[in-house]
Symmetry: C2
Subunit: 191 residues, 2 copies
């Protein structure tokens, strides 16, 4: 099973765009749909942008956190989770130049990144895609899925993360909110 | 400056192959030369294999180790360092499935990986290329350069690493020894 996912912003896809908000840095061109795919097949719709990411090993999560995550985190593709968000992020050169222990201290001790995420499980499902080493414009593409009634909970999760010390190292962030559409293309890739 | 490097095994290149030794897993096809390049230009020589890797942020090195590394490590491309080695490595799924703290404990506390490398500075220059998330057959491509008189020292470095707990998670390793050749192609990419 491939670990690579593509997120195509364009005129068709499984997800309708409800809003695109640029929090820092350059925006992405506005689109009406996002298609999530694992196949590099011929594209018949108009694409404004295409972001690739890959699921990978954990970089900061410790054993205790991982056990809790595995116990609580839901799968993607829950039928009731018709709201989604794609949040591409790029961190500063200063972040990447730090040694592992300094990044870990900011991520975990100072910012409690994993602990904050755990507070919103199992309601907010999540999949992290890495892309810094794939050469694209972002470092991470995080994908979230939740029920419409949990939108406010999701906003709170994001606000808490954006208030952390870690977020001082975020230089580009776009928040794309999505709604499941009836779509006749590929099977939904989030399952 | 691009962080991506290609290592092409074929019939031409800046480096003559002195030996290729497969320590674990599948061998690579035998070749006479290795070309190191950062350009994806047209290739006029016969290539048996082509491995891509990218320099990236440190995953296990702490601040104290990084300061020592920066003080001691030489640049690549030293004129007297006419011997080189390319060592592609793949680690097991069990390694990658571990949380960060367990991998760090094996890498650093149990295996003293960085500390062992420091014992051979400044004689043995090194550049680590990541490739697990690029989709190739290996996880890492490590490149070493040293003077001919330091070959035995280099062998000792490798033996110490291969005796560590970390190496129990290495499932494929090929040790390619190289000698600088007189070559009229691209400028040497290691400089």
């Amino acid at each position: 099973m491939s670990r690579t996912f593509w997120f195509e912003g364009g005129t068709d896809g499984q997800w309708n765009v409800a809003s695109m908000t640029t929090l820092r840095g350059e925006p992405l061109d506005p689109v009406t749909h996002v298609k999530v795919t694992q196949s590099d097949s011929t594209r018949i719709h108009q694409i404004a942008w295409r972001l690739a990411g890959i699921t990978s090993n954990l970089r900061y999560t410790d054993g205790a956190e991982l056990a809790t995550l595995r116990a609580r985190q839901p799968d993607l593709g829950r039928p009731a989770a018709t709201h989604a968000a794609l949040i591409p992020i790029k961190k500063t050169a200063a972040w990447w130049d730090m040694p592992q222990d300094e990044r870990l201290a900011i991520f975990s001790r100072d910012s409690r990144h994993t602990a904050i995420g755990l507070d919103y499980l199992p309601q907010i499902a999540r999949r992290l895609h890495h892309c810094r080493d794939l050469g694209g414009p972002f470092d991470f593409l995080t994908w979230f899925e939740y029920e419409p009634s949990h939108e406010q909970m999701f906003d709170e999760l994001l606000q808490r993360l954006r208030d952390t010390a870690e977020w001082r190292y975020v230089e580009r962030e776009v928040d794309i909110r999505l709604r499941a559409s009836v779509w006749a293309g590929d099977a939904i890739a989030g399952g």
